[in-house]
């Protein structure tokens, strides 16, 4: 009796917790509303299944608990019932999977007009690089990383000279334009994670990974690292600011390019070579 009651209370409590609790995902700030929709579908289906199974169990415990003289039924199996349940489950699973795969297809298909932005992770800070006027990012290599060239940008690549480099600073992005985030790490695994954008991806040293999204709301958002990267993992924070187009241009003008940042160093390297 008590056991059945507790089982019912667990279902009731879980549902009430879900409805009443103040803890829910952060308001979305990107185009990935579909992900939220898929998640809500999954919540409904799984919630119904959970309640159904536990309530059925509660009923069984209440109705068929041991009493003097009770004897259990003898029923080895029921092919019909089991087939029916299998089909129903497969259908439920398909209803969750189909929209999931559909949205995943969009997630991995980057629109052609997406602007490229590079994020570079290192223990334990974020840096960013934007293509300059030529719209192309220069090549890079972690072997080239040095005190003067913290992102390892290839100094011989003309495409890289006008790249805007933001070392350990805030990233600004214009609202409403799709962005392809190119993710790179120069030491260990990191993961560029902004909860409001929904999208995230690991950054793997040695390769460039990516994801894309379109910012849909201006504001300031926290960047966290979501892949354990050593002692400072919990303190690896950054900021992304989604601007209006005008504010973005103003910010962009204030940034320095790779050429400007390395100019004095270039001279000294040339000087070394001559000597």
């Amino acid at each position: 009796m008590a056991v059945a009651l507790v089982l019912v209370l667990i279902v009731a409590g879980s549902v009430l917790f879900h409805i009443l609790s103040p803890w829910w995902w952060t308001p979305i700030a990107s185009n990935w509303g579909y992900i939220d929709t898929t998640l809500v579908i999954t919540f409904w289906i799984t919630g119904v299944v959970f309640a159904a199974v536990v309530l059925f169990m509660a009923y069984c415990v209440f109705r068929f608990r041991h009493k003097e003289g009770r004897k259990a039924d003898y029923e080895p199996e029921s092919r019909k019932l089991e087939t029916w349940l299998t089909v129903a489950t497969a259908l439920g699973v398909a209803v969750m999977l189909a929209p999931g795969l559909f949205v995943w297809y969009q997630f991995v298909t980057v629109p052609d007009d997406a602007a490229e932005v590079e994020v570079v992770g290192q223990q334990w800070q974020w840096s960013f690089r934007l293509p300059g006027a030529d719209g192309k990012l220069g090549t890079s290599n972690s072997r080239l990383v040095s005190f003067d060239n913290p992102l390892g940008v290839n100094p011989d690549d003309p495409n890289g000279q006008d790249d805007v480099v933001v070392e350990a600073g805030d990233l600004h992005l214009p609202i409403g334009k799709p962005v392809k985030m190119l993710l790179r790490s120069i030491d260990v695994l990191h993961d560029f994670y902004v909860p409001e954008f929904r999208a995230k991806m690991d950054m793997v040293p040695g390769t460039v990974t990516y994801f894309w999204f379109t910012p849909t709301r201006t504001g300031t958002f926290d960047v966290l690292c979501a892949e354990l990267c050593g002692t400072g993992h919990g303190y690896m924070r950054g900021t992304v600011i989604i601007d209006t187009q005008e504010d973005y241009q103003v910010w962009l003008q204030e940034q320095s390019t790779f050429a400007q940042l390395t100019a004095p160093e270039q001279v000294s390297v040339a000087g070394d070579a001559r000597r």
């Binding site: 415990v61 004897k71 040695g206 354990l228 303190y235």
Partner: protein, 592 residues
């Protein structure tokens, strides 16, 4: 009915009966320490696993204290925190759950349940335990080594696992961890071969595969999987050890650590992740399948009803075992692997939900029109179903590739896997201990302490991990010692975290009651008799309880029926033991 006298047919393996000399140990040492009796080895495995598990439990308290009350405990530095989570995870998954289910329950139950005198290779079985103990000691040694244990997270992802930015990365910690894992795998392989071959070759006459209790099916399939999956971890460990000690670049790309260019170059961290999860995902089912099997038997016995859909249950175990080898990359949706893999692995992952769901249905359908005795094992079985269904369903979020993207690496994942492969299997372990303790010791565990232990553990664990999903939904990432100030996390989350911590402490302390009960009942427990639950399977039919080395006295049992003849219409009692030629209610075996 076919008349059979034991040993009349040479299909009974000769090795099983011949070497009876072994079953009469000569000294205290060979009886209790260097014993070759699977039952003693089982208790050694279980005792060691529970002991090291208590260490992991204390570690979980420490990390919960930090999460619930950040900044209060000065000694929990970020380094210490990462060491705690790493050791907690690794101990719980490998050294507690795997060792206890396979080394503990496997050793105790397989020979008894299939009607064998012992494992087929008792010496290798003994060696298996001692190598396991050595692995545990090496693991413990890392707590005392310079630099402390590794803090790389239980996944040990390179490059950080072997770099100085991670606790133990450039010190002893990671090396001892890898060596300990390699030892564990070697030891396990010896034991695992025994469990598999005993099921194949040690079965008593009449014990066909389809008459085996589902416990044996679960442990058998899990062991086969473990034998094939652990080599992946072995390869990953050896290669990482080479990278760390000998300067190879299997997993290590060119990288700059804290401004310093390292010698490594060209390697692939993703390669490690593939190897790790090729082991890691089957590992989930290596823990889950024995739990599935055991819980089936608990429900059937205590509901006095045959397990509903036995055949389907067997097929589901085998299918889940096979499928679990092609879902590994669902742990890597956001790892940067080729995104097209997402389609394949999301599909396989959700397909595996179907046989798993079917098992759940069959458990609850077994309760339908049963005669449910709400004994402690039954209570734990019911609690298992609640937590397993809960944790399994959140798995559908994480398996569905695009839903995983926002949730991966958040507390949602932590809540999910603790519910499904932490709480649920451990509830089964408790249920199983309450169920088989009378066979192991001849005495019942104390009921009052058991009830207290059950309610606090079940409701407490649910109170820990159910709300934790919502912490993850808010966006709190895992492996953060202190989430600190962010724009998206409301203060109420900190209150919730403190609540979870208090619940975790309470649940932890309740386990001390359980441990006390284990020892108290040894002396003061009610006398159990040979078959207190009136169960059908062979282990309850031994001539003496606790069974001695050799299990069966002079004659091996002969099996006449499946393991689930409960409440058979027309039978005088509500159970018929497997070795009972008994009243005939069905057809005689034979070519139909």
């Amino acid at each position: 009915m076919v008349e059979v006298t034991p040993h009349a047919n040479n299909a009974v393996p000769a090795a099983e009966v011949a070497d009876v000399e072994l079953y009469h140990p000569k000294s205290w040492w060979t009886t209790y320490v260097f014993s070759q009796d699977a039952k003693v080895i089982a208790i050694q495995y279980s005792g060691t696993a529970i002991a090291i598990g208590m260490v992991a439990l204390v570690l979980s308290w420490l990390m919960r204290l930090q999460l619930g009350f950040p900044g209060t405990f000065d000694f929990i530095t970020p380094e210490a925190y990462y060491q705690f989570i790493t050791m907690h995870g690794m101990i719980m998954v490998i050294y507690l759950l795997t060792a206890l289910f396979l080394g503990g329950f496997g050793n105790y139950l397989i020979p008894l349940m299939v009607g064998a005198r012992d494992m087929v290779f008792p010496y290798a079985n003994m060696l298996s335990y001692w190598i396991y103990l050595l692995a545990v000691l090496v693991l413990i040694a890392s707590f005392f080594a310079p630099g402390g244990p590794t803090g790389a997270g239980w996944t040990l992802y390179p490059p950080q696992a072997i770099l100085s930015g991670t606790p133990g990365g450039q010190a002893w910690g990671i090396v001892l961890m890898l060596v300990s894992l390699i030892l564990f795998i070697i030891g396990f392989t010896m034991g695992g071969l025994n469990y598999v071959v005993t099921v194949l070759q040690g079965r008593a006459r009449g014990m066909t595969l389809m008459r085996m209790p589902l416990t044996v099916w679960g442990i058998f399939t899990a062991t086969v999987m473990a034998l094939l999956a652990f080599p992946a971890l072995f390869v990953a460990c050896v290669m990482m050890l080479f990278d760390r000690l000998l300067g190879t670049s299997f997993f290590m790309p060119a990288l700059v650590e804290l401004g310093q260019q390292l010698e490594y170059g060209g390697g692939s961290p993703i390669l490690f992740q593939h190897l790790f999860w090729f082991f890691g995902h089957p590992e989930v089912y290596i823990v889950a399948l024995p739990a599935f099997g055991i819980v089936s038997d608990l429900i059937s016995t205590h509901a006095r009803k045959n397990i509903f859909g036995y055949r389907m249950m067997v097929w589901a175990i085998v299918i889940i075992g096979a499928l679990s080898f092609v879902v590994w990359a669902h742990h890597m949706y956001v790892s940067g692997m080729h995104p097209w893999f997402g389609f394949f692995f999301a599909t396989t992952t959700l397909i595996i939900a179907v046989p798993t769901a079917l098992k759940v249905y069959n458990w609850v359908l077994t309760l339908w029109r049963g005669d449910i005795h709400l004994t402690l094992p039954m209570l734990f079985a019911l609690a298992f179903i609640v937590t397993f269904v809960n944790g399994g369903l959140t798995g559908l979020f994480l398996g569905n590739v695009v839903v995983d993207v926002p949730l991966s690496d958040t507390m949602f994942v932590v809540a999910h896997f603790h519910m499904v492969m932490g709480v649920a299997p451990i509830l089964v372990i408790f249920g199983a201990i309450y169920h088989w303790y009378p066979k192991i010791t001849g005495r019942m565990l104390n009921e009052a302490m058991g009830q207290f232990h059950f309610w606090v553990t079940f409701l407490g664990a649910y109170a820990i991990f159910f709300p934790m999903h919502y912490v993850g939904l808010v966006g709190v990432p895992r492996r953060y010692p202190d989430i600190g100030g962010t724009s998206f996390i409301p203060d109420s989350v900190h209150t919730l975290n403190a609540f979870i911590t208090v619940a975790a402490l309470v649940v932890g302390f309740a386990q001390l009651v359980f441990l006390f009960n284990l020892f108290w009942s040894l002396k003061f427990g009610r006398d159990a008799g040979g078959n207190p639950w009136r169960a059908t399977s062979l282990e309850w039919q031994t001539p003496t309880t606790p069974p001695p080395h050799g299990n069966w006295g002079d004659t091996l049992p002969v099996v006449y029926r499946w393991a689930y003849d409960y409440s058979v219409p027309g039978a005088p009692e509500d159970f018929i033991a497997q070795n009972d030629p008994g009243p005939q209610t069905g057809h005689v075996a034979g070519p139909a």
